[in-house]
């Protein structure tokens, strides 16, 4: 059977492979090559070695400050989103009236796109700040906490659903046994429930981590980096380097390669985490 199917490889794989080559493979290889070149269009590149990488990390490019902002934003939103989502998941697994309606409402923001969301929140936050005669772009702190708030609003419901699925798989006998042994609700939570949903926690941590780290649309819409690029995250910094002014395309591509390497590193850490969990079970 394998032999007959093998002859059909053109029909089965060609459409996907052609599209994949155009959308990913060729651009990726070109991208790696061009990060070592000076260019304004893909066809007029000249080799400059590591100069783009040096420029990317030098001052005035805003890459390091964007990295700092992205890192602190990511840490704060990963912690707040997961704490909130886990708490709500606990509350929603207690057979309270209206659980299904709550679930539906909480999950909904996850479906709305980043640009539309970003402007909705920009209008909301500015409406509050107008009362104090200021706006979200006046102070980098407003932008930071605005982004954290927006990200929580969007992702808590999504993570909550994953935690609920995990909590529902905890065997009730285990919880009953803990109760009979005289465990307080807090002890049951920390010693029984949390260890049992460790795999959900890993999934949620890394999902929020990579989503926050790669954030672009929400950042572009909410503050667009203002004031003075202080609220610019990595993805937006790379975009601005490419399209903000000509002559820096190579530096932009070098930054993109660095960004890519960081994201791959995060994914590899996640993979090793998941693997080690599988061995334990």
């Amino acid at each position: 059977m394998e032999k007959t199917l093998k002859k059909y490889f053109l029909i089965f794989t060609l459409p996907t492979v052609i599209a994949f080559a155009f959308a990913f493979l060729i651009p990726f290889v070109q991208g790696v090559y061009l990060s070592f070149c000076k260019f304004t269009t893909v066809s007029n590149a000249t080799w400059v070695g590591l100069k783009n990488y040096q420029d990317a990390f030098s001052g005035g490019q805003g890459f390091m400050s964007a990295l700092g902002f992205t890192a602190s934003f990511t840490v704060v939103s990963v912690i707040t989103i997961n704490l909130l989502a886990f708490t709500i998941a606990l509350l929603l697994t207690r057979k309270i009236k209206g659980t299904n309606v709550f679930r539906t409402v909480f999950f909904m923001p996850n479906l709305i796109g980043g640009i539309v969301l970003g402007y909705t929140w920009q209008q909301m936050i500015n409406a509050v700040l107008y009362k104090y005669e200021t706006t979200i772009v006046a102070n980098a702190k407003f932008g930071f906490w605005g982004l954290v708030l927006l990200m929580n609003w969007q992702m808590v419901g999504y993570m909550m659903i994953i935690y609920i699925a995990g909590l529902q798989n905890v065997p009730t006998e285990l919880i009953e046994a803990a109760k009979i042994d005289g465990a307080t609700p807090w002890q049951t939570l920390i010693k029984v429930k949390v260890p049992m949903v460790m795999s959900s926690i890993t999934i949620c941590m890394f999902l929020t981590l990579s989503n926050s780290f790669k954030l672009f649309d929400q950042n572009k819409a909410l503050t667009d980096g203002a004031p003075m690029k202080k609220t610019q995250m990595l993805a937006l910094n790379i975009y601005e380097t490419f399209y903000g002014r000509t002559g820096y395309e190579g530096v932009g591509q070098a930054k993109a390669v660095v960004f890519f390497i960081i994201v791959v590193a995060i994914a590899l850490v996640q993979l090793s985490f998941t693997r080690s969990k599988e061995v334990e079970q």
Partner: protein, 281 residues
């Protein structure tokens, strides 16, 4: 077993959840409310309901639609999303079937490249993909669908391949012995079994394509008639300093309505699909 104490604490939890639900819904109600106010009243009094003086009826909607051509954009968003999703479900399921059933260097290499592409952030291929799309005349709605087929192929092939592995070979062998060609076997026997995964893949890809901003913004651009919803919203805000906030509110409302309808009609599939995607990806 249900004591008075736990009844009381359930009430507290219910109130807490209710407050959270209001917090989730509030931003949406905020833009809906303000979309009915005259544009000069929005910044002076953003939180009250419209009254005789501030009520603007549907003026903002009419203004916004005239200025932006949002209805056109909704049409193109639908077109690009539906065609991309059909391409993706059809072609990537075939590819996934091939790379799972045929063991060769070619299919192994393909599979690992697809998995690899899932990790790579868009900024890495942003510039080179746009210029490739330019050279091969893909800067139109159909071209966008081809790019989405390539760009989302990674996740889709990965999800389908995971499921194909669990289908017993005997079914396909029986079909082959009865004289089915590989194509007949795939569409007659395998694809119907893949249906649950197909729904998941369709939902995940539809959400990505519908909400995506950067790819259509860069590839189709802002000066053609093929703009999608996020591109139009970005233009409305980004282009002029003296913005019409009434029109912005109205257009945000119109952008969100299709998603809410989609969510409320296919809620069960959406939540299941997104969770399955999160756990596998």
């Amino acid at each position: 077993m249900v004591s008075a104490k736990s009844k009381a604490s359930n009430k507290v939890i219910f109130v807490f959840l209710l407050i959270f639900a209001v917090a989730i819904l509030y931003p949406l109600l905020f833009i809906l409310n303000n979309s009915f106010k005259g544009k000069f009243f929005i910044s002076s009094d953003p939180f009250s309901l419209p009254n005789g003086e501030t009520f603007a009826g549907l003026t903002n909607y009419a203004n916004g639609l005239m200025k932006t051509g949002l209805l056109n954009a909704i049409g193109w968003s639908f077109f690009i999303t539906i065609v991309s999703v059909v391409f993706l479900v059809l072609f990537t399921s075939m590819t996934a079937y091939y790379v799972t059933r045929v063991k060769s260097v070619y299919s192994n290499a393909l599979y690992y490249m697809f998995v690899f592409s899932m990790v790579v952030p868009f900024q890495m291929v942003m510039f080179t993909m746009t210029s490739l799309a330019d050279r091969f005349h893909l800067r139109n709605p159909l071209g966008m669908c081809i790019l989405y087929l390539g760009f989302d192929a990674g996740l889709s092939v990965f999800m389908f391949a995971g499921f194909v592995k669990s289908i017993p070979l005997e079914i396909e062998e029986a079909a082959m012995i009865d004289g089915c060609t590989p194509l007949q076997t795939f569409f007659g026997v395998v694809f119907p079994i893949l249906k649950p995964t197909a729904i998941t893949v369709a939902i995940l890809d539809a959400m990505h394509v519908w909400n995506d901003f950067l790819l259509p913004y860069l590839v189709i651009g802002i000066s053609t008639k093929y703009k999608t919803i996020p591109v139009v919203v970005q233009m409305l805000v980004g282009s002029n300093g003296n913005k019409d906030m009434g029109a912005l509110m109205a257009m945000l409302v119109l952008s969100i309505i299709p998603i809410i309808i989609f969510y409320l009609t296919c809620q069960k599939y959406i939540i299941e699909g997104v969770v399955a995607g999160a756990v596998k990806g």
